[in-house]
Symmetry: C2
Subunit: 137 residues, 2 copies
């Protein structure tokens, strides 16, 4: 059974991990757990431009990710879309993500650490395809 | 910090979900949560041959998946490898997976349901690349 709009909004508010897949240069898949923000119809993430995910997105913006419950009754969301880099929001999104997932103090400290290494960038994804499921009933 | 061999074995024993990525015909990524068995150096999964995942694997066996903890302190495993179909073990693996994740009774009932639809197949992946992390310390 699909989620209602409101159930989806509530589900995405909790600091779950997204598992985000991209396609590597050699044509094979790559997947990793990432933090996300859901805001105004866009998912926001950060990465380092020189790493696998950043390089893959620069070559081909297509990404797919799943945000889902690890234990039954299962529910979740799968999204496909095109990632767009928004470097001017790298600092802000890095801070907000770290605070969302680690809490105020630990989050701010961790964001400072992340932002010390060069190449940190933000990217956003507007869902081109979004499917949800909820087996709680 | 990476997991020790024993920590990895224990981590994989629990019925967590794997999030498995493949590459679709159009070259874009696809990812979905799946059940897995870890046995004798291979990960085992099932799918239906005609669905996105099954078709993708038939075209190009490369898969990547992450099995990881949803909450801090984070730990997990990312695997890349080549999927090989093992149709003769479809029934056995479907049953064992369902019982592992849903318990004996519900699992057996669900496996019977799954096995009624045609095209169910098993595939295994021997890790070509495996990385682990554990931030519990």
């Amino acid at each position: 059974m699909a989620m209602t709009h409101q159930e989806l909004e509530e589900f995405l508010k909790a600091p779950r991990l997204a598992r985000l897949a991209v396609v590597k240069k050699d044509g094979g898949p790559h997947v990793s757990p990432v933090w996300y923000l859901w805001e105004d119809g866009h998912f926001w993430f950060t990465t380092t431009a020189g790493r696998v995910k950043g390089r893959a997105i620069r070559r081909d913006g297509r990404v797919a990710f799943t945000i889902d419950e690890d234990t039954p009754p299962y529910r979740g969301v799968i999204v496909e879309g095109r990632a767009v880099f928004v470097p001017e929001r790298a600092e802000e999104v890095t801070r907000r993500l770290a605070v969302r997932y680690l809490g105020q103090e630990a989050g701010e400290a961790y964001a400072r650490e992340l932002l010390q290494s060069p190449g940190r960038t933000a990217f956003r994804v507007r869902p081109a395809k979004l499917i949800t499921w909820d087996y709680r009933d």
